[in-house]
């Protein structure tokens, strides 16, 4: 199957430091790829390049056949690249429902009816409520996003991504800081998207149990470079990966 997302020699330098250095890889629909690497490996920077928050110094990005390297973040969102952020990145004073409704509205568009009262678009709110139900946020729909506890904000972050209904889902440590009760809700949602088989999922994750449970493939970044890419068992078995990424694992193996 042809790749749904591809980066070609993707590089970004900040001054002399190459935060992402010549990363070439391709992702297919129905595949869940976990991106691992130590802190500062360039995982989030690579995400920022793909979703458009940063412009690369060199290299190109393709969504299907289309070159999207020069597109704005909003144009990439419209093209089907959806992203949830590592640090919670919401609309703090708007209600939880409005947060999600905005994402639905961006996708659907409301065209010339822009000036009608928001309440005359019940379908948008209805769909937003469905996403809240799936992320178990229905009870807090009317609270301002800023009033939610951390775990719920993380869930809302994911709800926004679900509402975008992208082809490419990019999760940046979606369960970071979540309690053991909350994390499974998110992981089950990701598993559900995966069962669809038509979506491409990229996941930055540190928790090894999560990686093992979900990953079809693992990509390892280190110092901005792609150093390993393959099936989970094969990648995790590489001595280099065990050494730089697992650290302790290498000692255990010894």
């Amino acid at each position: 199957m042809s790749p749904s997302l591809r980066t070609e020699d993707l590089t970004i330098r900040f001054g002399g430091h190459a935060a992402v250095n010549g990363v070439t890889c391709a992702f297919r629909p129905g595949e869940l790829t976990v991106i691992v690497g130590p802190n500062g490996a360039g995982k989030t920077t690579w995400f920022n390049l793909v979703s458009g928050q940063l412009a690369p110094t060199a290299g190109r990005i393709f969504k299907g056949e289309a070159d999207i390297t020069r597109l704005s973040p909003s144009a990439r969102a419209k093209a089907g690249i959806g992203r949830a952020f590592q640090l919670t990145n919401l609309f703090p004073k708007l209600s939880v429902l409005e947060n999600v409704r905005l994402a639905v509205q961006a996708r659907e568009g409301i065209g010339p009816r822009l000036f009608r009262p928001a309440s005359s678009f019940p379908r948008l709110a209805e769909e937003a409520r469905e996403h809240l139900a799936r992320t178990r946020l229905s009870d807090v729909a009317d609270y301002p996003a800023a009033a939610l506890p951390h775990g719920d904000q993380r869930k809302l972050e994911v709800a926004l991504l679900m509402a975008m209904q992208p082809d490419i889902y990019m999760f940046d440590e979606p369960t970071a800081g979540m309690s053991v009760d909350e994390a499974p809700v998110i992981l089950e949602l990701i598993a559900e998207i995966k069962r669809d088989r038509s979506k491409t999922i990229l996941l930055v994750e540190h928790k090894m149990d999560v990686v093992r449970a979900l990953a079809d493939r693992i990509v390892v970044l280190h110092n901005g470079e792609l150093i390993a890419d393959g099936l989970p068992d094969a990648v995790m078995a590489l001595p280099l990966v065990r050494e730089i990424y697992l650290g302790i694992g290498a000692e255990e193996a010894a």
Binding site: S51, S72, P73, S74, N89, P92, L94, S95, P117, A141
Partner: protein
């Protein structure tokens, strides 16, 4: 209303909300009946008309600063363009509705073109640079208005006639005796028509803006204010939305300028273009409450009453306390700016998000 306020948690009317609505209802009633309540009080009617016009001007500024988080200092420039367009046409074409229409349209068109240019050229840059660009544009316009005296009348401004329909001699209704009909003792003449022309135009413009902020567009604007990066990331073209709302606010400000020019029968740098007006707008929007729309009404009324009546009040207070030491000196009307400043400080201290913003629990702009 948005889903937020329609939801059960918000359906009960908290006391603060009631207070705001009550204040606005009282202001509304007074403005509707102003020609009758303030009959014979020329200054009073003048203040009422100025309040109507400034509510539109301040609310349109709230679209920018309160809803979208755009800081602009060019709002009086757009106001002035509408006013000068109307004034120049009335001067050149003579008093007629066609002059108001043509001049007003030209002023609004200039405002729109300038807003598009400023918006597209500089809304991509950081907020502080954008604010500087608007400041520069407004300064240039102020200099132009004073220097192009052949067209604008320079520092003196323009004095002109407005359509005869709005003159005191016009009888809107005639009684059985052929004289102008009266209602509650108030002759229904052209001055009354002029006031209602201003009032109704302002009301329509205000309601249009309320509709905008309650539409899906309004939520997008708030989203851009709250988190520009994320708004872009979920698919909104932030620069396009910003430019659009900047143009819309400019057009509404220019329309308010038309009303001002028709009401005053005068347009000059001090009256419609100066930075003093810009500061008034800023104070009004802050006192009323940014991002509330309804705050514009409260802010404008408080500022206008303070500006026009604080001196009178102080004179009365100074007279009443003339027997006491020091106090009459403190209350001397010459010191009115000191008391106005104190009033602002107290208002901002007790209502950090503005009066409407604090009472409605909106928290205002961060």
């Amino acid at each position: 209303m948005t889903a937020l306020s329609a939801s059960p948690a918000f359906r009960r009317l908290p006391a603060g909300r009631l207070v705001v609505y009550a204040i606005v209802a009282v202001i509304g009633v007074v403005l509707v009946l102003a020609p009758f309540l303030l009959h014979g009080n020329v200054r009073g009617i003048d203040v009422a008309a100025r309040i109507c016009i400034f509510v539109v001007l301040v609310a349109s500024y709230d679209l920018l600063i309160g809803y979208t988080g755009i800081v602009s200092f060019a709002h009086t420039m757009f106001f002035g363009l509408g006013a000068y367009g109307t004034a120049i046409a009335l001067k050149a074409m003579g008093p007629g509705f066609s002059a108001i229409l043509a001049g007003g349209a030209a002023g609004v068109a200039c405002a729109l073109v300038l807003a598009v240019l400023i918006g597209l050229l500089s809304l991509r840059v950081k907020a502080i640079f954008f604010a500087m660009v608007t400041l520069a544009a407004a300064s240039v316009m102020l200099v132009l208005a004073s220097q192009l005296s052949d067209i604008t009348g320079g520092e003196d401004g323009l004095i002109y006639e407005i359509p005869r329909f709005f003159s005191p001699a016009t009888k809107l209704l005639t009684g059985a005796d052929g004289k102008v009909a009266t209602l509650f003792g108030v002759p229904l003449n052209g001055r009354v028509a002029l006031y209602y022309f201003v009032f109704l135009s302002a009301l329509v413009l205000f309601l249009v803006m309320v509709r905008i902020v309650r539409s899906p567009l309004g939520t997008v604007l708030e989203a851009i204010r709250e988190n520009e990066t994320r708004a872009e990331a979920i698919g909104y073209r932030v620069v396009a939305y910003r430019t659009a709302i900047f143009c819309l606010a400019a057009v509404i400000a220019a329309l308010a300028g038309i009303l001002r020019a028709v009401w005053l029968k005068y347009a000059g740098p001090e009256a419609v273009l100066s930075f003093a007006i810009m500061i008034d707008i800023l104070l009004m929007v802050v006192i009323g409450g940014m991002g509330t729309m309804i705050g514009a009404i409260i802010g404008v009324v408080i500022m206008s009453l303070a500006q026009f009546y604080l001196k009178d009040l102080m004179q009365a207070a100074a007279d009443a306390t003339s027997g006491l030491p020091l106090v009459p000196d403190l209350l001397n009307p010459d010191r009115w700016l000191l008391w106005l400043g104190l009033l602002f400080i107290l208002l901002v201290y007790f209502f950090p998000a503005g009066i409407a913003g604090t009472l409605l629990g909106k928290g205002g702009h961060k």
